[in-house]
Amino acid sequence: MELQVQLLMNTLQIGSVYVLFALGLTLIFGVMKIVNFAHGTFFTAAALVVTSVMMWSVDTIGMPIWFSYLIAFVMALLVVCVIGFVVYFFGFKYVLKDLNGSFILSIGLLLLLNGTYLILYGGVPRSIPAVIPGNITILGASLTIQRLVLMIVAAIITLGLYILVHRTKLGLSLRAVAEDQEAAMLQGIPYRRVALYGFLIGATLAACAGALMATVTPVTTVIGDDFLVKAFIIIIIGGLGSVLGAILGGLLIALIESFGGYYFDPSTATLAMFVLVVILLIVRPQGILGHAEK
């Protein structure tokens, strides 16, 4: 019994991270139809910035940890927004309608940015001191308080994005731009600006995820890429562009990893995950919550 609770708690812990990462991708890939393989590099950038700023402010200046973290968080968002803006303005702007083109562009970016990070930060993993130390036990399952906070923040961000996409004018215009640029323009939607906003929001989400993850996991210059593949799977099984789908998909993958990893072998669980995805997509090609295309 206690074991099942622990495994479920693990599912939530893992799942919240996946969902957080997948959200930005759902917006950029699912809603705007840009396949951004470099999405992980936004995540990585934020995490790296957090470690640098923390190192400087805690070790050099001696500021309190929580305060340093707040500064680091803001800095991370700023840096990623700048990167996102540059990348969009000089790159993605030109391949908005082109699935393959945006894919290749993002691959180029991935190589470029990862190489740059490696030169700036070296291959050594970094980590930051615990912002909120301590463990907690819920229904017999234990986890760190940081993880709990992370889960709550993830839930809040998810809710926020849901409202943004489905209940606001910006959300409406984002979806419209993704479906038919020309028709969107005919409704008076300034599609270039809307696409930029969408891209920046996506990047900011990745940055939030990265900055939050830096508190619980070691940061390397390729950390984002490890999440990327799973995030793609998550949003496709959830249904492209569906925020609820991303939640469902993220939790499903986490469930497989958590229980599969326990009862079988983590490596087998990974294999099982891929097989399951293929089967699911064959049975329901548009994903759990997606609409059929066309």
Partner: protein, 240 residues
Amino acid sequence: MNQPNVILSIHDLFVSYSGVPALEGVSLSVKRGEITTIVGANGAGKTTLMKAVAGLLTPLKGKIEFQGEDITSLSPAHTVARGLTLVPEGRRLFPTMNIRDNLMSGAYVRTDKDAIQKDLETVLDYFPILKDRLHMPANSLSGGQQQMLAVGRALMASPRLLMLDEPSIGLAPTIVETIGNIIQTISRNGVDILLVEQNAHMALELADQAYVLENGQITLTGKGQELIQNDKVREAYLGL
């Protein structure tokens, strides 16, 4: 050229598709309070003209003025913001978005929440079939229902000038009548209309002013009722 009773004036417009001319020196104007129509054979350039006015195409030469302002090189987002809305040929809906969102996207440039809500109700009264389907994706509608949605979406913009490119395409006779009535109603409510119709009969019946476009040039103009009587027009456009 700045006449106060003219809402849209087009002067000597040239448009081409990668070198092939589609419009060759078109001039026309839409007067306030009137329904203006353009009739012409297939490929005459009617759609091209409307797209150029809306800002989807950039003219080679010529000038387009809307409410006295030069809008020749404005993008659609800006023309729409100034009160000029186009129901494009081929509907151009947002296929996987639901019907409500499609309609609301029409009201993108507006901020008057209450009026938007009222207009939504009006549109749904015009096309009751859409009312039952508000949460279905647009691509589950039949062809004619989609056309209704396209017209409805444009009405949601509450434009100053409404341009309709073959709005009655694929509609049942009763609905064609409805469209005709809608055009008259909104015209009376102060929206100026530029109409292109395959159903030339209907168009000329409705129109105050009519133009005949042939091979990218205006060849004939007059009151709608006059052109219905014109032999050339009868033969070419009113045959069946």
